[in-house]
């Protein structure tokens, strides 16, 4: 029997009750705080320099798409038989310094208490070159990537997802191995076993389902991307089976574009086919390609990058003293005569993007007239444009300017030396080749070297060039090197005039 000789007073009972309520409230607040700090708030490494931010800063792609950091670190070790000692470099990922933890274009963000990594803008927009006889690889932030093998990268994840050997045990063992150095504690191992791994596995399998069509595509090769077909599948669940997409639309791989000097490009028809004239919309759309979603996009981060590339100067030709000024002067006259109306012009006062003066600059040229490969143009459909214009519905930054065009757009040629290969699909290795009729352009050539041909302006395309080479066959769907030829395009000029034009274009 409980003694009633030491009863609590009503005040003590009330205080104890209040205390329990307060305790419950405090515990709830603390739980809420922990929930917010761990599961809601995201932690991003910030970079002071806009360029560093471009190279390594997060744009929000990790939240929905990115694998955990330790998974990203473990995969090259688990699949060293496929990736070899290069690791992610096998897919053309670049490292600023050899001992860098993550490659350029892979950013990190802590989401729901787990550090995750994924792609940012620079993965597709950092180019490289080596001068003849010089083993040093130079990076050009803002230039089109000439190394990234995105298709193979995607296929790798699909394969991993389908690999029976990709198990929680194997993953955790690899993370904890000395080569990766994860050293997970017991709680982390539990989280990885029961939360992280199942989600990663599921995400890879889903990726394989959604992007199954990729294996039906022609190989993109290094430095090329099919911009819109994965976009259709991932963002809008477009059916991508053979009954719903033609062979032409399926193969629209293109070179990455350069992203410098965006300010004068505002209002021009952007993208290869000119389907949007707003730099901001183009950027936000491109970020979707890197893995952000309309929900996870870090608009502030993208705005920083946008501000940086607004006036980012185009890179000067790396060996200016090798430019024959007399020939360049001659080429300048020819350029003004043949090229400037579509591409603008550069003289002593700088590059002119004046669309009043150069009336075709920033406008599209109908397919029949330009004659280049139709794959890229075909892959962009009116239905797709309509879907794009529904993205971010309800927000001030909702897309509104996407539209289907009749051809390909004329762009300024500032820094054109650093944008090889040429034409939208990268089918012509050098500027000099581009000035030849298509029949005299290389039909099968090697793509993937970043060794520079200073005379013809472009990466070396012969089989003895250094690097991980890809056989580019211009007869394959989407790879045609036709078009941009004829009298109007200078391909009927004498060789000396073509040489002069190339010389001048080194100065752009």
């Amino acid at each position: 029997m409980i003694s009633d000789n030491d009863r609590k007073t009503p005040v003590e009972i009330a205080v104890a009750r209040h205390r329990r309520w307060w305790l419950a409230i405090v515990v709830l607040i603390l739980l809420g705080l922990v929930y917010y700090l761990v599961f809601v708030n995201q932690y991003v490494v910030a970079f002071v320099s806009p360029k560093d931010h471009f190279m390594h800063g997060s744009i929000g792609s990790e939240t929905a798409t990115g694998p955990p950091y330790w998974v990203f670190k473990a995969l090259p070790v688990m699949y060293s038989d496929k990736l070899g000692p290069e690791g992610w470099g096998r897919f053309g990922f670049l490292y600023e310094k050899p001992d860098d933890d993550l490659p350029i274009g892979v950013s990190r963000r802590v989401v729901s208490g787990v550090e995750r990594v994924w792609l940012n803008c620079s993965v597709c927009h950092v180019g490289t070159y080596r001068l003849p006889g010089d083993p040093v690889r130079h990076l050009i932030p803002g230039a089109p990537s000439n190394n990234l093998r995105l298709q193979e990268f995607i296929s790798f994840f699909i394969d991993v997802g389908r690999d029976p050997g990709f198990t929680a045990d194997a993953l955790i063992a690899t993370i904890d191995s000395p080569k990766v150095g994860g050293d997970l504690n017991i709680f982390e191992r539990l989280i990885y076993r029961y939360v992280v791994f199942p989600r990663v596995k599921s995400a890879f399998l889903d990726l394989g389902t959604q992007l199954d069509f990729v294996k039906r595509q022609e190989q993109w090769g290094p430095g090329r991307v099919d911009t819109f077909n994965p976009y259709k599948a991932l963002q809008f669940n477009f059916p991508m089976d053979e009954a719903h997409i033609s062979g032409a639309a399926l193969n629209g791989s293109s070179d990455y574009p350069a992203i410098w000097r965006q300010r004068p490009r505002e209002g021009m028809n952007l993208h290869w086919d000119g389907n949007n004239d707003s730099v901001a919309e183009r950027n936000l759309s491109a970020a979707l390609g890197a893995g952000v979603t309309p929900v996870t996009v870090d608009r502030a981060s993208i705005a920083r990058i946008e501000g940086w590339m607004w006036d980012l100067p185009s890179p000067p030709f790396p060996v200016a003293d090798r430019i024959d000024q007399a020939k360049a002067t001659e080429g300048k006259t020819l350029f003004l005569q043949y090229c400037a109306d579509c591409h603008g012009f550069k003289d002593a006062s700088g590059y002119s993007y004046d669309r009043q003066r150069f009336t075709r600059l920033g406008k599209t040229v109908p397919l029949a007239e330009i004659g280049t490969d139709v794959g890229r143009w075909t892959s962009y459909t009116e239905n797709f444009a309509a879907e794009q214009n529904l993205l971010y519905a309800g927000y001030p930054w909702r897309f509104s300017r996407f539209h289907k065009t009749d051809g390909y757009a004329n762009h300024p040629l500032d820094g054109i030396w650093a944008r090889s290969p040429y034409l939208h699909n990268g089918s012509v290795p050098t500027l000099r080749d581009l000035l030849e009729p298509s029949a005299r352009r290389p039909s099968v050539w090697s793509r993937g070297s970043d060794e520079f041909d200073l005379a013809k302006v472009g990466y070396r395309s012969d089989q003895s060039a250094g690097g991980d080479l890809f056989r580019y066959d211009t007869t394959r769907p989407g790879n045609a090197n036709t078009g941009h030829e004829g009298y109007r395009y200078g391909t009927e000029l004498p060789d000396a005039a073509k040489d002069a034009l190339v010389e001048y274009m080194k100065t752009l």
Partner: protein
């Protein structure tokens, strides 16, 4: 005294020291000691010799009438222990002696019949397991003192306790009784629209809320007849929202006037009204003055076991920033006026009641200690007399001083240290700045001597 006043001190003194007649009471001047007390008595509510000394010194100082300290009509209605009660006939001899002591100075003595309700600061060990009887189950919002809404039998019981208290006061030879219906005690808890949340006939509109007091008035008249002075202390305005602006404001002046009219009970009810304000105790308007943080920190600890919010209050008072902030709130909610803070309320009651019953008198409390202010208040017909407590604690002979001059040399500073010390120490003036001396020790010795004077002469000599 204002230099431009059209009245001389002699004019003022003539007004103040003019006899005041009630229906059943005559007072030699217009100065009343308001209810204030220390814990001078036996724990069980029997009076002690210190209270005799305490009351006598004010009579000696020239006060016209003393209103007793808070005098509980039952042990359940205490606010603090060691306060003399009137809960039993065995208390009558003590109160008779009190009456005798003050009558010797031609001073009248009115017993304040009181009940704490929920506002029971330290109810003593007898009340340890009781919640305060009240009109509501809601606890007091300042200290968190627990409350229990009274049943109708409990209401009837308390009505009778008041009636018997009045009977005892008359039997003790005292000169009248006052119902403490102000400052948050039980009667306020029924009267105030900010506190009374009853849905029966004792709640609702002002008539319902005043029913409990009217029943007490009628029960008292049943016991003491019509020729025994009965007055009502009541809030002019409740200002119930001083601490939490979102809670009910309580009674307005208009409601108070209506309640007062009702309590006249057709000429058979109360004989006078004593106007105060503030529906809690303490309240920024009562006692109007400052909030001494050091004393709060030192002496409020006794409340920690009494109210559910007292620990939070103590933490606030003890915090250098929050304590200052609370003190600033206190001053802001009080306003700038201290002396005569309730005068406008008293004027409104005087005017309205005067139209109905010209023989009903109105007293006003609130910091009075200057002859010109008191005389002006009476001359303007805002009230017929003033009540005072802290100025008399500071200067026990203030009435005699006012016969000679406008105010005392060392005025009450309204510091309210007397109020805070009462929780644990003998009542007296604890404002060291008012005591002469060349050092702290000298002034402190004089202060303690003054405080302890209430124990002189001792019980046994």
């Amino acid at each position: 005294m204002h230099p431009d006043s059209q009245y001389t001190h002699a004019d003022n003194a003539a007004v103040i020291f003019n006899e005041l007649t009630f229906r059943s009471l005559r007072v030699k001047n217009r100065l009343f000691r308001s209810n204030i007390s220390g814990q001078f008595d036996d724990y069980n509510g029997h009076g002690g010799h210190a209270r005799l000394n305490w009351e006598e010194k004010f009579a000696r100082g020239g006060i016209g009438c003393i209103i007793s300290s808070f005098t509980p009509v039952s042990v359940r209605g205490r606010i603090l222990v060691r306060y003399a009660m009137i809960d039993n006939d065995d208390k009558i001899p003590f109160w008779r002696e009190v009456g005798n002591r003050v009558h010797a100075y031609d001073c009248r003595f009115i017993m304040q019949l009181s009940h704490s309700g929920r506002q029971q600061d330290m109810g003593g060990v007898e009340n340890l397991f009781n919640k305060g009887l009240s009109s509501t189950n809601k606890s007091d919002y300042f200290h968190g003192l627990l409350a229990q809404a009274m049943t109708k039998p409990e209401i009837a019981e308390v009505v009778e306790q008041f009636a018997q208290g009045a009977r005892r006061a008359r039997q003790a030879g005292l000169d009248g009784v006052e119902l403490h219906g102000a400052n948050g005690y039980l009667l306020t808890q029924f009267l105030s629209s900010g506190i009374n949340d009853r849905t029966d006939e004792y709640g609702g509109g002002w008539e319902g809320r005043a029913r409990f007091v009217l029943e007490i008035v009628r029960a008292i008249r049943r016991e003491v007849g019509q020729d025994f002075h009965l007055q009502m202390k009541i809030n002019g305005v409740d200002h119930n929202d001083w601490l939490y602006p979102w809670i009910g404001k309580g009674n307005t002046l208009d409601e108070t006037v209506k309640i007062c009219t009702m309590l006249l009970d057709g000429g058979k009810g109360v004989d006078s009204f004593h106007i105060s304000s503030g529906s809690t105790f303490p309240h920024p308007r009562n006692p109007a003055g400052d909030l001494p943080l050091n004393d709060l920190h030192r002496w409020y600890d006794g409340m920690l076991s009494q109210g559910t919010r007292a620990p939070m209050n103590y933490a606030i008072f003890s915090n250098p920033i929050l304590g200052r902030a609370f003190q600033a709130l206190w001053r802001w909610r009080r306003g700038k006026v201290i002396e005569g803070i309730n005068l406008d309320y008293a004027r409104a009651v005087s005017e309205e009641i005067g139209k109905i019953a010209p023989d009903i008198r109105v007293l006003c409390t609130g910091g009075f200690q200057h002859a010109d202010r008191i005389a002006d208040a009476i001359r303007s017909k805002a009230c017929d007399g003033v009540t005072m407590a802290r100025p008399l604690v500071a200067n026990n002979d203030l009435p005699d001083i006012l016969t000679r001059q406008n105010g005392p040399e060392k005025e009450c500073t309204y510091c309210n240290k007397c109020l805070l010390n009462d929780l644990e120490n003998p009542l007296g003036c604890y404002d060291l700045s008012r005591f002469d001396g060349n050092s702290f020790e000298e002034r402190y010795d004089r202060m303690i001597k003054q405080v302890m004077s209430v124990y002189e002469p001792p019980t046994f000599q």
